[in-house]
Symmetry: C2
Subunit: 138 residues, 2 copies
């Protein structure tokens, strides 16, 4: 994760204790924390960090493309630090558990056992993102 800090410094980020802590919290595979969970873990390391700073920092990391925002059907957005490795998500419809998956080939085909983590998959949803004609004109 220190390479992340390096990259951020290279982009002109002022390196503060708060930002370091948020970056540390967002480390690992299959990490998909809500903003509140990030805040709770950050507070454990740096008690005076505020909610606003966590939201700001997460938003900045997302704009820089270092972290992905994941919208499952749960209420809160989740933040996925694994932005540099393209992958998809496997979500439990009941408890909301999330795993990263890296299927090859047609994503609409069944997930291979090795990527299924024991889930019973019932549905696949594809979202294309981009700019609509009027927004790309502006």
């Amino acid at each position: 994760m220190s390479d992340l800090l390096e990259r951020l410094r290279g982009r002109g980020w002022r390196m503060t204790a708060q930002r370091r802590v948020v970056a540390e919290v967002l480390d690992g595979e299959h990490v998909h924390l809500t903003a509140d969970e990030v805040h709770a873990r950050a507070v454990a390391k740096l008690p005076e960090i505020s909610r606003a700073t966590v939201y700001n920092t997460l938003g900045e990391l997302v704009s820089l493309g270092e972290v992905l925002e994941v919208s499952t059907d749960k209420r809160a957005k989740r933040y996925d630090p694994n932005a540099h490795r393209p992958h998809h998500h496997l979500v439990c419809a009941r408890c909301g558990a999330i795993r990263d998956v890296h299927p090859t080939g047609d994503p609409l085909a069944d997930l291979p056992d090795s990527e299924r983590f024991g889930f019973a998959v019932s549905d696949v949803e594809v979202t294309y993102r981009g700019l609509c004609p009027s927004c790309s004109a502006a």
Copy 2:
């Protein structure tokens, strides 16, 4: 849409003015309203309908599989009445506009022009939904 009302009656739904209004609002192609928008349009037709009823009715329609919940990265969930025709979504990253698309073949390939609605697509996201091992055991 009246076939929807028939189906609901067949499932033992008590047919109230409020439910009829919500069903009417959710009609058409490329309809992806937030709960609040549904409420606003419902109020135009039936001024005394309450927010709670709209939320309840939407939730029931989703459980029955008549309406899909769509989580784009916008704040509020959106409701898509086109549940019986499998399709995916094209979302504008800036203004949040949503279109339904029906690509054939590999969804990771480029969308054909006929399905692109003039969007500049920059990203594809795939979400698999199902039950995790502990939830399917229970």
